[in-house]
């Protein structure tokens, strides 16, 4: 009961403060950016410059082939700038590539160099077979270079036939995927929602220390843990509100909001307890700032793994923001893995409780002095 009153009091205080509204405003801003400035799906077509050093006949055949792959079935005459002069180029757009046919080899090299794109010269060898000259940047991995080396050995028709015969067996069929826009939401939920408490709770505690609230608390009948928990409660309410502001308009009724609430509460509790523990080692925010900042940097790293699918080293998976990111992703998916969400929530609840217990012990000693 005391806890409840204390929580309500904190909530009232918070609603009068500026901070609460900054969070709401931030959520609205993120929503606006996601809705109006971020497209459903990002453009990820690779740009290639090609120069055909071939007899007219072969050139025609080659261009015919590219034309067939073009999404509109035809090319576009465009002007490109090279070295302050404009050159004419045929532009083709296929499903995964943007191809520019460049008439002069020198221009091709300059374009590939300046725009950091792939350049290729196609020519005939002594036996009248096609031969390729690739212009890469130099930082491409050995594996990618190997792939380029073998990509033209077999002729296209044989390759297409082999590709069509590939047997792909998914373990689960009706997997739902997220659009690029929806894919950003777990990042927002993780950093603006779940992990927000890490930094803010410390600021809260130091503020109260400064204003002498904590000393006043020592003479009341409430215990320290109730005070700490009511602070965490306010942060959790804020993060739920700001998360819903972003989530509802974009995802509608698709996500399971009960699970969302569970994951937000447990991970938010964990982050706040961690913030409390860190703050307990310092006298003021200035001192705690460095450590908290360092923690923030470390937990940002899994974002990179989240955005780049091929990069997922084990040590990144150990960082707390990794399961949180993927937990939120499962919530957004139609057939999300409920088990995983429950496991992650339980894990963060347990760790959060342990951290909270330790901080409680530390604050009992330090707050009242």
């Amino acid at each position: 009961m005391k806890l409840w009153f204390s929580f309500i009091k904190e909530l009232k205080l918070a609603s009068r403060g500026f901070y609460f509204y900054i969070e709401i405003f931030m959520a609205l801003l993120i929503l606006a950016v996601l809705l109006f400035a971020v497209p459903e799906n990002f453009e990820s077509k690779q740009t290639e410059y090609i120069h055909l050093n071939l007899p007219e006949m072969n050139k025609k055949i080659y261009l015919q082939k590219i034309k067939k792959m073009d999404i509109n079935g035809s090319f576009e005459e465009v002007e490109i700038e090279v070295d302050n002069k404009l050159i004419q180029s045929k532009f083709y757009e296929t499903e995964d590539k943007k191809i520019y046919i460049i008439n002069e080899k020198d221009d091709l090299i300059k374009l590939a160099d300046k725009n950091r794109k792939l350049g290729a010269v196609i020519k005939l060898n002594k036996n009248n077979k096609l031969e390729y000259e690739y212009y890469l940047q130099g930082y491409e991995s050995k594996r990618l270079k190997n792939l380029y080396l073998i990509s033209h050995i077999e002729d296209t028709d044989t390759l297409i036939k082999a590709l069509e015969n590939q047997d792909v067996r998914p373990l689960e069929a009706d997997y739902d995927t997220l659009t690029d826009r929806e894919n950003i939401i777990p990042i927002v939920l993780t950093f603006n929602g779940a992990l927000m408490g890490l930094f803010i709770i410390a600021a809260y505690i130091f503020l109260d220390k400064q204003e002498g609230v904590i000393k006043a608390y020592a003479v009341t009948a409430s215990s320290v843990w109730q005070y700490l928990l009511s602070k965490i409660g306010v942060l959790l309410v804020t993060s739920i509100l700001s998360s819903l502001i972003v989530l509802l308009p974009i995802m509608g009724t698709q996500p399971n909001y009960l699970l969302l609430l569970l994951l937000l509460l447990t991970t938010g509790f964990f982050a706040s307890s961690l913030g409390l523990l860190i703050a307990s080692f310092y006298d003021n925010i200035m001192q705690a700032f460095g450590t908290i900042y360092l923690f923030m940097l470390v937990i940002i790293i899994p974002n990179i793994a989240y955005i780049i699918p091929g990069w997922d080293p084990i040590w990144v998976k150990i960082l707390p923001s990794y399961p949180i990111l993927y937990g939120f992703k499962e919530i957004l998916l139609k057939n999300g893995d409920i088990n995983y969400i429950l496991k992650v929530s339980l894990g963060f609840l347990v760790v959060g409780l342990i951290l909270f217990a330790i901080s409680n012990r530390r604050y009992k000693k330090t707050l009242t002095v």
Partner: protein, 333 residues
């Protein structure tokens, strides 16, 4: 005036050193740089992860290792649970005469296509020795991702400078020293300039450290410092306003957090969005700062370009300043 500016700066430095915060702040760029150096080689390796059966076909394992990251497993069950894991990995498994691709079902299309191509190459027995491709390159060693990370880190540090100022000012307020300043011959301008130095130094020092450790030493440093300088002006400005208008650290910290949003939005817009969406970000000074840094780090920036980006940042910062100047004046009273 200059003497007073310096003495305010000296005082800030002393206080900050006492709190160890400068230590952290000087250490953070170094850590950033080391982290970037450690991660990028792994991230840059654009390829897929394959799970294969151990001992089933050693020659196939050798073949795939030239093109993909290969993990070996003892039996099908282990492979299944690996494929079901959260990251994107597909398995290539024997099926009577042939091999099939086992996927989880939620991989990006590109991953499956890549696996199909590799498996076709293997089935057609295409070997690197028979290549008809000659590879030439422009001798670049720094991958684009590293450049992007360094760029973002530089802007991050400039915000950190703003944060430092905000916290310093709030601290002055809590100690009631701002009103005391009004009684001294120190003018408002002097106070502002004096307070700015520590944030500015942090940004410039941090950017230089980052660039030296991550190996961008042959970029045009003057161009870079110019962009760092103007973008730091903006964070300093915001740091000031937050410091002056907020009575406690809580609110100051919260509002500075707002600055990270345009920073990330600017960087993501440039890296991920198509040309037609770019105009929606022209209002964002960090967008221009990121573009400027990118031009410098890629060593493609002409002075004309750099001056344009810097002046865009400066103009937008001035607009912010004009908008908020009354607040600064009020805050100092």
């Amino acid at each position: 005036m200059l003497r007073r500016i310096i003495s305010i700066f000296k005082r800030d430095l002393k206080v900050n050193l006492k709190d160890f915060i400068s230590l952290y702040i000087f250490v953070i760029p170094v850590l950033f740089a080391i982290a970037i150096n450690l991660f990028t080689p792994g991230i840059n390796d654009t390829t897929i992860n394959l799970a294969l059966l151990e001992g089933e076909n050693p020659e196939q394992v050798r073949y795939f290792k030239d093109f993909a990251k290969v993990e070996l497993f003892g039996d099908i069950d282990n492979i299944k649970s690996r494929v079901k894991a959260r990251d994107d990995i597909v398995a290539i498994l024997p099926n009577q005469e042939n091999y099939y691709i086992m996927s989880q079902g939620n991989e990006p299309k590109g991953v499956i296509e890549f696996a199909k191509i590799l498996n076709s190459f293997y089935q057609l027995d295409i070997q690197i020795e028979d290549t008809n491709v000659e590879i030439k390159d422009f001798k670049r060693t720094i991958p684009p991702l590293k450049k992007q990370l360094v760029n973002t880190a530089i802007l991050f540090i400039s915000i950190l400078g703003g944060m430092l100022i905000a916290i310093n000012i709030v601290e002055e307020k809590v100690d009631n020293t701002i009103s005391a300043i009004n009684l001294t011959p120190t003018t408002r301008k002097t106070f502002i300039l004096g307070k700015s130095i520590i944030g500015l130094l942090l940004a410039i020092f941090g950017s230089l450290v980052l660039i030296f450790i991550t190996g961008f030493t042959d970029t045009n440093l003057i161009q870079l410092l110019m962009i760092v300088f103007v973008s730091t002006l903006l964070s300093l400005l915001v740091g000031f306003i937050q410091g002056l208008n907020n009575d406690d650290i809580m609110n100051a910290a919260g509002s500075i957090k707002l600055l990270f949003l345009p920073l990330i939005a600017g960087a993501l817009a440039i890296e991920l969005l198509a040309d037609k969406w770019q105009k929606f970000f022209y209002w964002n000074p960090f967008y221009w700062a990121y573009k400027g840094n990118d031009a410098v780090l890629s060593k493609t920036g002409s002075w004309k370009e750099i001056l344009f980006y810097s002046s865009m940042v400066l103009i937008l910062s001035t607009v912010v300043y004009l908008f908020l100047a009354p607040k600064i004046r009020k805050g100092l009273e």
